[in-house]
Structures are given as structure tokens and as C-alpha cells.
């Protein structure tokens, strides 16, 4: 009996250790201490018509929360090392400090820090002065005001780089999986023609979350020109950056090896003083040749009714 008990205890101990070991190995391969964009490697594949082939699952940096540090870069700060960071838009150095504790942040500390970290970048759209207070108020009251709360679509350009691109001779398919938690959004897709057609006149379009996008190539850069939006989205999760139905978004996709760089320029003469271009985002190709996008969890907002402060959720 004793030997069985010993065997049982040993096995149980090993089983307890095993997941942690596996997790450690998994994290060790993807753990990042910087959020600088990934460097490209490999060659850029091309389609028979000679254009770069953008087809692929572009979630190599990790899905959902694992991608959050990269989102900080998306918002304009590049953490280059334990002692060096810079504002991407201006190149200004940002004081950087090694962590001085191994203790994790509690929820309150974590949410406050996450909210501040995403606001550090200086690349902000310049609204007409009469809207400055409105933007600020939207931002500070985002828990109530963010139109994407309650699982509504993120829209364009907030959705950023699609997690899947399917490229065909005369069209593209973009898929943006819904994500839960901090960056909860609804799954979106776009079918974007690239057959030389012209835009439908704006006044004939009913505004939608993803608008009417039409693609064309400028050299090796895919340009997606979209208008016909509703006004029920913001440019980003942070900032209160609203827009009118007169918004036009020019997205640029450029593949370099296993990386895809995306920017969006927003034109909205109704509310913006000048066009605004997002901080470039860089996605990494999922290296698995058989990679697929898993089904998104249904978006179900359960937190907002419990918020009691204006701290960003």
C-alpha cells in the first residue's frame, strides 16, 4: 500500500509540475521584454500577377491579450530595451526604468497603468478646436461613451490589421476575429474589390461600420480606400476619437517577408483640422502553414454595469 501511495504522490507531483513546465516553455518562446515591431525575415511571396501575396494568418505576435504590449506600440511608444523607449511619432526619448519589484500589480493598479501606457504616444488626431472638449470628455467617460462597448463592431481604422487576409485576383477578404476582455470587439469581415471600380457616390451609401472599401496597388503597397461609414465607431479604444459620416480612410498594407506593416490615414473635414495618420502597426505572419483562426468567443458585455468610477475598463 505504501508503494502505491508513494507512486500516487510522485505521479500527482509530476502532473502538477507538468503544465507549469509546458507553460514556461511556451512563454519562453514568445516572452517579450520589448515591444519594438518585429524585424522581417524571409522573402515576400508573389502571386502570378506579380503582386506581393498578402494571404495568410497575421497573428504571429499572439492573439488577444498576448498582443497587448504590441498595442502599446500601436499607440505610439516603442520600448526598445530595459533602459530605452521612444515616442514613435517624434523620436523623443522616454525615460525608461527597470522594474523594481517582482510583485504583480493588483487589478486597480493594472488597469490604471494600462490606460496610461496606451496614452503616452504623442500621435493624436488634431480636431477642430470646437471639438477639443468633446473629445476629452468622450475619452474620460469612455466607459459610457465608447460606441464599441456592448459588443458593437470596432470599425475602421480601430480594427487595425486583419488577422486573416485572403487575396484573390480581383478582391480581398479581411477577417477580424472578435476578442474578449480588455479589447472586446465583435467579429468583423470585409470583402474588398480590387477590380478598378469607382466608389459609389457618398450620398447614395447607407453608412456602415466598415464602409465601402476599394483596393488598388501602388507599387508593392496595397491601398484600400474606404468611405460610406456610419458615425458609430472611434478611431481607437483610447482617446475618444469620434468621427462623422464624412470620414474617408486610406489604409496601406506593405508586406516585407513575414511582416505586414499597416497605416491608416483618416480624412474627416467635418471634424478634423487636418488628415491624421495612425502610428504604423506591424503584424507577424503565423509561421504554421496549417494555421487557422479559431472561432471567437461570443462577445457578452458583463462588466460595464458594475463600473463605479471613470477609470477606463
Amino acid at each position: 500500500m505504501r508503494s502505491y501511495r508513494c507512486y500516487f504522490i510522485t505521479t500527482a507531483a509530476l502532473l502538477c509540475l507538468l503544465p507549469a513546465t509546458l507553460c514556461a516553455q511556451e512563454f519562453s518562446t514568445i516572452r517579450r521584454t520589448v515591444n519594438a515591431p518585429p524585424k522581417p525575415s524571409g522573402t515576400t511571396p508573389r502571386t502570378p500577377d506579380g503582386h506581393p501575396d498578402l494571404t495568410g494568418v497575421w497573428n504571429g505576435l499572439g492573439d488577444n491579450l498576448l498582443g497587448v504590449p504590441n498595442q502599446i506600440a500601436n499607440d505610439g511608444v516603442s520600448i526598445d530595451s530595459e533602459n530605452s523607449s521612444h515616442d514613435i511619432a517624434t523620436g523623443t526619448q522616454i525615460a525608461t526604468f527597470p522594474r523594481n519589484t517582482t510583485r504583480g500589480l493588483n487589478n486597480e493598479q493594472g488597469e490604471r497603468a494600462a490606460s496610461l501606457l496606451r496614452r503616452v504616444g504623442s500621435n493624436r488626431p488634431i480636431y477642430k478646436p470646437q471639438y477639443w472638449d468633446m473629445v476629452k470628455e468622450f475619452d474620460q467617460s469612455a466607459n459610457e461613451e465608447d460606441p464599441s462597448n456592448n459588443c458593437m463592431p470596432a470599425g475602421i481604422p480601430r480594427a487595425g490589421i486583419p488577422s486573416y487576409i485572403g487575396q484573390y485576383p480581383n478582391s480581398f477578404i479581411f477577417i477580424y476575429p472578435g476578442q474578449g476582455g480588455l479589447i472586446a470587439t465583435q467579429t468583423m469581415y470585409r470583402m474588398i474589390p480590387a477590380d478598378g471600380r469607382k466608389h459609389t457616390p457618398l450620398e447614395e451609401l447607407d453608412g456602415t461600420y466598415t464602409g465601402e472599401g476599394i483596393a488598388h496597388w501602388e507599387g508593392d503597397t496595397l491601398v484600400v480606400d474606404t468611405w460610406g461609414f456610419n458615425s458609430s465607431t472611434w478611431f481607437d479604444q483610447i482617446g475618444g476619437y469620434f468621427h462623422s459620416e464624412n470620414m474617408r480612410v486610406i489604409e496601406r498594407f506593405h508586406r516585407d517577408g513575414n511582416t505586414l506593416t499597416w497605416t491608416a490615414t483618416v480624412e474627416d473635414p467635418d471634424v478634423l483640422l487636418e488628415p491624421w495618420t495612425t502610428t504604423p502597426r506591424v503584424a507577424l505572419l503565423n509561421p504554421k502553414p496549417d494555421a487557422v483562426l479559431p472561432e471567437s468567443l461570443p462577445c457578452s458585455e458583463r462588466d460595464l454595469t458594475h463600473t463605479v468610477t471613470k477609470e477606463h475598463h
Binding site: V34, P69, I79, S81, N100, L117, I126, P129, Q130, L273
Partner: protein, 308 residues
């Protein structure tokens, strides 16, 4: 398993947990409080990086993300980019005190500040001014954002005021820490009356001015003096005292800001403000330079009569 063995294992585990926790706490105390640097200062060179880190920590400037913990371990960065200060108190025009409302909107990337002062009182005493600066551009606004859209307000160039307005940005506690870090080896530390004092030169358009900042026992900046290197400019010496630090935000950020600000220039009072609210959550504050201000700067530079 016998109860005695279980009890022994539990005690060992509890002891190990306690030791681990204590070790972490000690580690935090050593590196986070700056106390080590102060103790060492009695007879040794203080560690500049530790003192500045302690000052930044005291203000709540250093943050890192724990989201995705396990997959990432990013360092802390300075998260102060924009801020708003709402205050009321006394603003001095010469020696004449006036009760006023004060609203400062500021940014550090790029350096910019908009100060709106509403002086209360009867007749000529009542006034409203908006003074703005962004890098080397300075202008006055008839309303917030004046001069950016045709027909909407007037932006009046005020280039000679640029340096003085920028200085206000860098003598705030956050500006002091940022500028002291940026000054690198030029930043010096010393002890005066038991308090840590940081001294460093400003750079760029403010070169030629030395800042001296005093920390209290909690590493909060309590006093900032700026002094032109040119001794003939003693009338430009400023002294600012900060006290009553707290998180004054409607949206709490754990960023500490002074609740009382007293500024003097050449020994005479300039401002005595009680802070009502501070929005430190990097609010949307922008400072586009009106075209006429840019044009005026170009003309001024061309004729060589500018204030810069």
C-alpha cells in the same frame, strides 16, 4: 499521510512563503524608496539614477503593464505626456494681487503649455488671458484654439515670451524629473540640511538656466529654483514651492500632484494657487500652431529681431 507530516509540510510551506514574501518586500524597499541612496549620501556619492527613479516613483510617473503577464515583461516608462491643472488663488500683476481662476493645459511631447487665467474683480481688474507656447512658438489666444480656423478668434504672436512660458513647463515636478534625467551626467546631487538637492542645466532654447530642486523625505519635489547662468539676470530667478501632494484627479491615476503652488520671481510673488483638480490621465490636449504665428516667427527670424 500522517497528520504530523502534513502539519510539518504545511509549516515549511508557510515559512517558505513568508521568506519569499519578505524578500520581495525588502527588495522593493531597497530599490523603490530611494532610502538607500540617501543613506549612502552621508559620506559617499549618491546614485543619480536611484534618486531620480525615487523622485519619479514618488510622483507616480513610472508604470508598466502586467497585461499578458508571463508572455511579456516590459520595463516601466514615464507615462506623463499631457496634463491639466485647475486651480484658484492669487495671481500677481506686478505687486498687485488679484483673485483668479487658473487653468493650465500642458504637454511634454512636444513641449507645450496653455495657461488660461481669469482674473476676478470689478472694472479693469477683471480680465481673461490665454497664453500658449509650443516649442519655440508663443502666442496669445482670444479663445481656446484661436486662429486655427478662419474667423474663429485671434491668435497674436508673442515670441519674446516663449522662453518664460516654456520654463513654467519644466519647473513643474514632472518637468524637473524629465529634464534632470535628460541632462544625464550634468545632473548633480548633493545634501543640504538633510534633504536631497538635484541640480541640472536646462537645454535647448532654455540653455543658460540652472535648475535646483529639493526633495522631501518622501522624495517629492518641494522646491524648485531656476537661475540664469548670467549673474546680470538675477531678476529672472524663480522660486516655486510645492506642497500637499495627492492624486487630485477625477479619474484616479495614482499620479501625485501638488495641491498648493507658490511661485516667486526675483523674490516677488507671482502665483499662489490652491489646486482644485488635476487631470493626469493624459487627456486630449493639442497645441497646433496657427499659420499666422508661424509666419510671424519666420518674419522675425528673417529680420533678426526675435525674442529667441
Amino acid at each position: 499521510m500522517p497528520k504530523k507530516i502534513i502539519l510539518q509540510i504545511s509549516m515549511i510551506a508557510a515559512a517558505a512563503a513568508f521568506v519569499g514574501h519578505t524578500a520581495v518586500a525588502q527588495n522593493e524597499g531597497k530599490t523603490g524608496s530611494g532610502a538607500e541612496a540617501k543613506t549612502a549620501a552621508a559620506g559617499e556619492t549618491m546614485d543619480r539614477a536611484k534618486v531620480l527613479r525615487a523622485a519619479a516613483d514618488a510622483l507616480g510617473m513610472v508604470r508598466w503593464s502586467d497585461i499578458g503577464a508571463g508572455a511579456t515583461r516590459l520595463p516601466g516608462i514615464d507615462i506623463i505626456t499631457t496634463m491639466e491643472i485647475f486651480a484658484s488663488g492669487t495671481v500677481y500683476n506686478g505687486a498687485q494681487p488679484t483673485v483668479a481662476e487658473y487653468h493650465a493645459a500642458l504637454a511634454y511631447i512636444p513641449p507645450a503649455m496653455r495657461v488660461e487665467i481669469t482674473r476676478k474683480g470689478a472694472g479693469e481688474a477683471a480680465s481673461h488671458s490665454i497664453q500658449t507656447v509650443r516649442e519655440n512658438y508663443a502666442w496669445n489666444e482670444s479663445e481656446i484654439g484661436a486662429g486655427l480656423i478662419p474667423g474663429k478668434g485671434i491668435a497674436t504672436p508673442a515670441m519674446p515670451a516663449a522662453k518664460g512660458r516654456l520654463l513654467q513647463l519644466w519647473i513643474l515636478p514632472y518637468g524637473v524629473v524629465k529634464a534632470a534625467i535628460a541632462a544625464g551626467d550634468k545632473t548633480k546631487l548633493l545634501m543640504e540640511n538633510g534633504a536631497t538637492v538635484i541640480t541640472f542645466p536646462l537645454s535647448g532654447s532654455l540653455a543658460g538656466t540652472t535648475v535646483t530642486a529639493t526633495l522631501d523625505s518622501k522624495n517629492l519635489i518641494t522646491k524648485v529654483e531656476t537661475r540664469p547662468d548670467n549673474p546680470a539676470l538675477t531678476n529672472m530667478v524663480t522660486e516655486t514651492e510645492y506642497s500637499d501632494y495627492a492624486d487630485h484627479g477625477e479619474v484616479l491615476t495614482d499620479i501625485k500632484s501638488p495641491g498648493h503652488i507658490v511661485e516667486k520671481q526675483a523674490g516677488r510673488p507671482v502665483l499662489d494657487l490652491q489646486v482644485k483638480m488635476v487631470n493626469a490621465n493624459d487627456p486630449y490636449l493639442v497645441f497646433p500652431v496657427p499659420a499666422n504665428v508661424k509666419a510671424a516667427t519666420t518674419q522675425t527670424s528673417a529680420t533678426g529681431t526675435g525674442g529667441n
